[in-house]
Subunit: 471 residues, 2 copies
């Protein structure tokens, strides 16, 4: 029978010591797989310890998979080699698709990340340092479900100054990204509603609805925005819009259409508009256009915005502004959810806005993007590409449309460019409906592009077009 010494048990209890001894013997093969272990009673007698001690050790060994028991037969050493063999299978890590950001492109016209060089690290670090030294209690105190009041006040003030929006801090709900807030809105407005998304549009919105198994419809776009007939025809009740700057077409919905939309919403108490104002801060020409939210007298518009574009996508702070009658519903039904953004991020951002850094940062970023866009357009005009290309919707935000005269399909051109190290995306890819897809128009995101990459990217585009266009 197995025998172990109990002289070197150090601070372990008896059962832990015994458990460790047996485990070690199984791991090192001293007890072969399938070996029957002594019965509890016999083992206890042999070792001069209590049956309870043996029982505890066996229980721990069973729990960890080192031994197994067969009723009325006893305890047996498990075949732990199988367990180790399992570990030698190809690693699961391969099933994690590397994010597009991991690829290195000579130029990436698809990524819509904020420019990394421009993040205000030194100010951010200063604010974080101050908060961690002087505001420890606040940092560890749970904020209300809608987010820290300081951050909501700062955002309300920013919206007043910058967008001339009248917002009470209580209307603002802070969340870890717009996708998260979409999910929360489904719970707030109701799963039984029919949701509408723009076609073409930002694909993730439809994905959120699909993943939540909610009824959603694509609503097609026409020259001045969404097709009103489609809204009625599809029985949409909640429509997602980006009227200040539609993605990807870049169109701005004119005032008259905005009133039409508000009129549509006014016709039924179940109707709402979710206004995604995602890059209104980057309108490069003309006055910023007032949001639908400010034109809405009937509490029909839920306003959404994010700091993903203005600061960094890895900050993960978005917010929505609920019409007043939805605020109390939110607190009645959803305030059991803790706010998803860490306090340190909330307070840092609140101070960043409150102390005027955000405004300065935005002014700097507008100049920076303006310059980058102008340079890109200028290089394009000067280049051999000009002959094959035209530009549209270049004023509204951080992308524009590039129309190319190419004798091949969008898909083919995209692949050809990929082979040249250039990532580019066709407008047609953003269409859900198979018909009416425009051809040979490409969506040019330039926010994350380096100025140094621009010349070569244009050259590569030119070379490829010349190659495929030559008879």
């Amino acid at each position: 029978m197995l025998t172990y010494s109990f002289t070197n048990i150090e601070s372990d209890s008896l059962y832990i010591h015994l458990y460790k001894c047996i485990k070690s013997d199984i791991i090192h093969g001293a007890i072969a797989p399938g070996t029957k272990l002594p019965s509890k009673r016999a083992f206890a007698k042999n070792l001069g310890i209590s049956v309870i001690t043996i029982e505890n050790s066996y229980a721990q060994l069973i729990a960890e998979g080192y031994i197994y028991s067969i009723p009325k037969k006893g305890y047996f050493a498990a075949d732990i080699r199988n367990q180790s063999n399992q570990k030698e299978k190809p690693s699961l890590a391969e099933s994690i698709p590397s994010s597009s950001e991991c690829h290195t492109y000579a130029a990436d016209f698809v990524s819509n990340q904020a420019s990394k060089e421009q993040f205000p690290f030194s100010i951010w670090a200063k604010l974080v340092r101050e908060l961690l030294s002087n505001h420890q209690t606040e940092l560890l105190t749970n904020p209300p479900s809608g987010g820290s009041l300081f951050l909501r006040e700062s955002i309300a003030k920013h919206l007043k100054d910058f967008r001339n929006m009248q917002v009470e801090p209580a209307q603002i709900v802070i969340g870890a990204g717009t996708e998260y807030l979409y999910g929360l809105l489904i719970q707030l407005l109701g799963r039984e509603k029919c949701y509408g998304v723009e076609d073409p549009g930002y694909r993730k919105i439809a994905q959120v609805y699909k993943s939540n198994q909610v009824d959603y419809r694509y609503v097609s776009m026409e020259q001045d925005g969404i097709r009103m007939e489609d809204l009625d025809h599809q029985r949409v009740e909640v429509i997602h819009l980006s009227p200040s700057h539609h993605f990807p077409t870049g169109k701005v919905t004119p005032i008259s259409k905005r009133y039409e939309l508000l009129g549509w919403a006014a016709k039924d108490k179940n109707r709402y508009i979710i206004e995604d104002d995602y890059d209104s801060e980057f309108r490069l020409a003309g006055q910023p256009i007032p949001p639908l939210y400010s034109m809405d007298a009937l509490e029909k518009v839920i306003y959404m915005n994010t700091f993903t574009k203005t600061l960094a996508s890895t900050i993960r702070i978005s917010y929505m502004i609920l019409p007043k009658h939805l605020v109390s519903r939110f607190y009645e039904t959803l305030s059991f959810y803790s706010c998803t953004v860490p306090n340190l991020e909330q307070y840092t951002l609140a101070r960043f806005i409150f102390e005027g850094y955000f405004e300065k940062h935005m002014n700097r970023m507008r100049t920076y993007y303006h310059k980058k866009r102008d340079y890109l357009l200028e290089e394009l005009q000067k280049s051999g590409l000009a002959k094959y290309a035209s530009i549209s919707e270049e004023d509204a935000g951080l992308h524009f449309l590039l129309h190319l005269e190419i004798p091949c399909s969008d898909e083919d051109f995209k692949l050809r460019m990929e082979r040249r190290g250039i990532r580019i995306c066709a407008l047609s890819e953003y269409y859900a409906a198979p018909t009416h897809r425009p051809e040979h128009i490409f969506v040019i995101n330039y926010s994350s592009l380096d100025e140094s990459q621009i010349k070569d990217a244009i050259l590569q585009l030119t070379l490829e077009i010349k190659k495929i266009s030559s008879p």
Copy 2:
């Protein structure tokens, strides 16, 4: 007709200047509500500027609500006093329920927040500082949907060392709180499944299912854990469990019952167990019990844990470990979601774990809580309360049960204690089913309690019991 000077227009364009002049006159009452504005053509002629300029100004004023148009009649100044009056309504802020943490209690036995004094601020600040200076590119690079690989590797290593769990980093999904991950799991496992929650149990779990309008059932608890007959009878397919330390009863599910549970899950391919291991790190006596996850050979267990208890609830980082066959499904269907935790938090925590600070912190916290619990129990034994009280389940985590001999209802006693500044919660409050609720048992959370509050809290409990028990 209105006349404005165009001499001081500074850098504004003509239309902006005109827009500002009219807006100012409306705000200051120089243009009374209802006043008809000049027609575009006449106004343009009068001011010597183009019709387009007038049109642009009017459009902006309409958009911002300063003027309105009546088709075929013209443009009129809006009554903006109404808009200001609206602002004088009682503030919405009152509709935000202040979180319980805002009340001041002489002692709070309900809050389960981590002790604020113990947060490792200086180390945390050091790590944050280093990251913000030396890892700027990583901080701004989007992590995979499941979270930063560095954090997942650190967690996998921690689980190996501390819980002897074999986890591949790819199996780990990082999220902004356990509630968020529950929502994600509904999308992963399917809305059509029937979910089971423990009764009594942590109320938020049922709230998440309710809010997502998913079919869920309460499964009653018996001495050794969940009632197996109820699982079958209620046709539950996915069951939430906290086998290492049930909340609120504090019970630990024994090994034999764990095998029964795994056996139940094995019977149908749609069955899963969500194992919430929320405070296993704080088991104060005996070996930590191996999680169900480690005993599961059939990939039926989804393991969940959080840093809310071990670090701070305002850090908002939780994680789940998916069985391998669900990992690829997760990346196929849900990887369009961005990870909800900011990079700075992910990297700080990863380094905190990787460099051994987490282990040290946990050891310190265990000692700290152990001491606090012992002091609380000791003071209780010494006090006049001892005669009316008994204790159970004091070893498993950061709460235990206090049985009190009181001649009134739990609700009444709770209110009486509230009047004495003591917040306390009855076990019966955690039961969903109206029957079998135990009476006169209170759940004592001591994690966020100050040692200095303990003596007086016990005194107040004693005084109240004596008062209501005296004939």
